[in-house]
Amino acid sequence: MTAIRFRHVTAFAAALALGLASTAADAKPTIKVGFIGPLTGGTSSNGIGGRNSADLAVRLRNADPKAKYTYKLIVLDDQCKPNIGVQAATKLGANKDVIAAATHYCSAVAISTVDVYHKFGLPIIVWGAVLPDITYGNNYKEVHRVNGTMINQNETAAKFMTGLGYKTWAIIHDTTDCGKGHNKYFTKFLTADGGKIVARFGVTSDQQDFTAELTKIKSLHPDVIYFGGLTPIGVRIRAQMEKLGVKAQFECTSGIVSDAFIEGLGKLAEGTLAFREGAPTEKLPGGKHFLAQYKKQGYSDPPEAYGAFAFTAMNLILDTIEAVGPNRKKVDRALNKITAANPVNSIIGKVAFDDHGQNTIAVITKYVVQDGKWTVWKESDYAKGLRKLKGR
């Protein structure tokens, strides 16, 4: 019996400690908000950039004396894997203290988590995933998105590439909804613009060896290899293209616009093309301010391509909570009121959600890797004709 008495004692001790801890909180009530993104794995640089940017929004808010609440950011890792994402989403949704969240860089994850947010009534703003169906595939009032979809970037991509005079394509895409989406839309626009697709391969999201596919592609001599997917596979394909002596222009999507892609390939990255919705961060209305603040906080990693979106998403959430108070339903209703009729200003310019909670981003930026940097096409030596893409 000693054991049992002993347990009781410690139990109460623990309870006591708990009580003290809670009373020791400061005057402002603390509100929890969430962030989910890929913090580990091949796409982690984007995830961490996004995490830091969201965290920046929270820090600035907590530093602001006028703020009604103190905010605590709950950060979860979705590893860019759908089921891990669903687990993370369930965690946030199930935790009643979390009022709203900025979630997901990977479309594959986002598309599978929207149900969860709907089930738990947790308002979220997607900050990086580009698959249209995330917002347009359902009527969930809880789901919003500040960044654009993959439709426009693929339209631009097709027009641009055919414009450069390329004729034949081989498409490699990962078989997640994200890769399939890219495959679908790029094919649609490319065939419209008269491009010819000679081969098409669906690959799994953690495939290591592409020699089989590339050997096949090589024997078909396409002008361009289009890759619809994310950084890690992009790196492998490009590297193995070199090993097999595949001489084709490498064209990708917003999914590889990250420093990790360049780090992973070094010199080989040179000349890779990619397309992304939204202007480059430094050219955004509030871009300068954002980058300055980001620098000031001294994060070890860069904000990456979608940091500005993550910052905006989190800021929107915080503004809304300040306005209507920490209540999921209220916050959600308030977010849905941000429409073309009454848009709000943010560092990425005006944000207005349509009836599917989708923010409209018209501008698409064309990137090319030049000297180990993602360079806007217009300003690149390639556009100026000082350097040549493959086969031009």
């Binding site: 019996m1 000693t2 054991a3 049992i4 002993f6 347990r7 009781h8 410690t10 139990a11 001790a13 623990a14 309870a15 400690a17 708990l18 801890a21 894997k81 759908p82 089921n83 891990i84 669903v86 687990q87 369930t90 965690k91 949704g93 199930a94 935790n95 009643k96 594959a108 598309i111 599978s112 149900d115 969860v116 089930k119 738990f120 990962d174 078989t175 997640t176 909804d177 669906g202 799994t204 999201s205 953690d206």
Partner: protein, 388 residues
């Protein structure tokens, strides 16, 4: 001492410990501050060690053995109390439900490994078979969900039967590679096979039994609303109870004896007429059935499944649970599952390191206490039975 006194005396340790454990678990689940949780865990370990040191364990065990019916009731009450305490906390209830499901699955694997000695490295794969069965059936058929659970189990058993020939013909290392190869094959297959959702995975509809929708919160009147996870927990507990009884009775019967004999010495067993093949198949099929059933249930509860749910390391974790709990001891499974699932979830500090810790833990167990936390006791065919 009079009769009533004696009864009381024999009940006290069991009831006392049950109450203590219940309170403890509730606290552990309720507490948020990492320090408090750590403190609780340390306290728990010390308490258990102390209990063992001063023979408390023996007394508790004794009173559980003597007052079976009473104790079972106590356990049920304790479980209900726990659930009642958290009736509206989605997250805690989700944890509890997960624990329940994993216990069921591990009971199945325990049947294979603990009794028949067939080490199945594809546990997660067969779990996955159940999950995908549920996903496909809920989407494409109007089959009643309870039936789907059963079908999930059957599918796991059927697909498992593909492995029976190689598993039977091979011995230890070699049969290990069969299940390992299958585990990997299964995951890769799911990834590359588009019709089953590929790496994207599949949505699964929640359960709906006779019009009772499991995914809706339970609302009674205006101001009472309980988490929808309660539905799953209740059903889960029922399934668990049934599984537990079946496994327990199997162990406490000639079948259990035969399985042990087969595991310990095939040749000798054969010389006394035991049909090795029959018993290995029985254990393998039944085990996979249980695992698959658990899988189907899990899929419908969690609502989404993808290949990365069913990796080789997931299979290893299932084995780790059995090993930690004490090979062949169902109660061990319960304890080990609770520890391995709840502790990392609560103690966020270690959550990141959980796999590392699992691995290290198992290594230590194998080196220093191969019989696990709760070593399997000798077989008692009829609890409380005394030779005349």
């Amino acid at each position: 001492m009079n009769r009533a006194g004696a009864v009381f005396a024999s009940l006290l340790p069991g009831v006392g410990s049950a109450v203590a454990v219940t309170v403890y678990v509730i606290l552990l689940l309720a507490v948020e501050s990492q320090a408090a949780i750590a403190a609780l865990l340390v306290a728990g370990v010390i308490a258990v060690l102390a209990a063992a040191r001063f023979g408390g364990m023996a007394r508790i065990g004794k009173s559980f053995a003597e007052r079976r019916i009473a104790m079972n009731l106590v356990i049920v009450v304790a479980a209900l109390a726990m659930i009642g305490f958290f009736y509206e906390d989605h997250f805690v209830l989700l944890l509890v439900a997960t624990v329940i499901i994993y216990v069921i699955a591990c009971l199945g694997l325990n049947l294979q490994f603990g009794y028949a000695g067939t080490l199945n490295f594809a546990g997660a794969a067969f779990f996955g078979v159940g999950c995908y069965t549920a996903a496909v059936l809920t989407k494409n058929t109007a089959m009643p969900d309870l039936l789907i659970l059963v079908v999930g189990g059957v599918m796991a058993a059927v697909i498992g039967s593909l492995l029976i020939l190689p598993v039977l013909r091979t011995r230890s290392h070699y049969s290990a590679v069969v299940t390992i190869a299958f585990a990997l094959m299964f995951k890769i297959f799911l990834e590359v096979n588009d019709t089953l959702g590929g790496p994207q995975g599949l949505r699964v509809d929640g359960m709906n039994v006779l019009g009772w929708v499991f995914n809706d919160n339970i609302e009674i009147g205006e101001n009472f609303e309980a988490s929808f996870y309660l539905n799953y927990i209740v059903l889960g507990l029922v399934i668990l109870a049934l599984t537990f009884i079946v496994v327990r009775r199997l162990e406490r019967s000639w079948v259990g004896l035969n399985l042990d004999a087969v595991r310990l010495d095939e040749t000798a067993a054969a010389c006394f007429g035991l049909n090795i093949t029959r018993w290995k198949i029985t254990a393998f099929m039944l085990g996979n059935f249980i695992v698959g059933l658990a899988g189907a249930f899990y899929a419908m509860m969690i609502g989404f499944i993808a290949p990365t749910n069913f990796t080789f390391s997931d299979s290893l974790n299932l084995i780790a649970i059995i090993l930690l709990g004490g090979i062949g001891n169902p109660w061990g499974v319960v304890v080990a599952t609770t520890v391995l699932i709840i502790v990392p979830e609560k103690l966020q500090v270690i959550e990141e390191y959980r796999f590392l810790l699992f691995g290290a833990l198992v290594i230590l167990i194998l080196l220093f206490r191969p019989e696990g936390l709760l070593p399997r006791p000798l077989r008692t065919y009829l609890p409380g039975w005394q030779p005349k």
